[in-house]
Symmetry: C2
Subunit: 148 residues, 2 copies
């Protein structure tokens, strides 16, 4: 087989292309990063600004501004924590949840189309493999440290 990096390079690029088309759900036109942000806020439990920025590997200042944009778009809510008023908890608004769900559905639909080009066994193997990979990356010291 070819070199591993080659395989990964191609795969991530193609998935990135999928992702690119995905994010115009619900009237709102989102960038790729913005869709990642919605995804993580949805996934995590009461995360604060710093946590989400860390998980996404984004600079905190860039992230802060992205959040401001998403708040203006009425997709994200930011609420100061009473116990510690330095901390601001992020959550999705109803519209944000709707948008996140729409993107998720659309992406899964895309992926189904991709999987339609292989048989059920192959599909299962692929999904299991990616799971394996994610776990390995989680253990890795060279990346991915800040995750849940």
């Amino acid at each position: 087989m070819e070199n591993p990096r080659e395989l990964f390079q191609i795969m991530t690029r193609r998935f990135g292309m999928l992702n690119k088309n995905c994010c115009s759900s619900g009237g709102n036109d989102l960038s790729l990063v913005q869709s990642h942000i919605l995804y993580e806020i949805d996934r995590l439990d009461q995360p604060n600004v710093q946590q989400v920025a860390d998980i996404l590997g984004m600079d905190i200042t860039t992230f802060s501004r992205q959040i401001q944009t998403l708040v203006k778009m009425n997709l994200v809510k930011k609420s100061q924590l009473p116990e510690d008023r330095r901390i601001h908890i992020l959550s999705l608004t109803t519209e944000g949840k709707y948008t996140a769900a729409a993107i998720d559905a659309e992406m899964n639909q895309y992926l189904e189309e991709v999987f339609s080009h292989m048989n059920e066994f192959e599909k299962e193997t692929v999904l299991r493999s990616i799971n394996l990979l994610n776990n390995a990356m989680a253990k890795s010291t060279v990346c991915c440290k800040p995750l849940i």
Copy 2:
């Protein structure tokens, strides 16, 4: 298992983080896109500007400017085709080849570290799966059309 999109989302993000650290090889500090550009120019045979932009799914004007930067950095050479002087062929300079190879080696080293967290059989399965996936994406109608 979780939903497929979830798996992909996490995987591509983590690989992206790997990629982020990768690109400072050889003194030159490259962005992620720039490393992708070097990679594709290296891989393809005498590609022109339009072809590489298409493969990377980049806007041609953005791409044109990135090439200008890489030419200034002495990593890429752009030569007008005598038979059709509208077309400009891209190639890597010696320094560009060196840089591309250094990045490739570094990425493979990172990936080896990741694979060290699984056994040989799992590694083989994962690599085969990604290959399967790439082929399926290549056939897909929802992405990835412009590829080699």
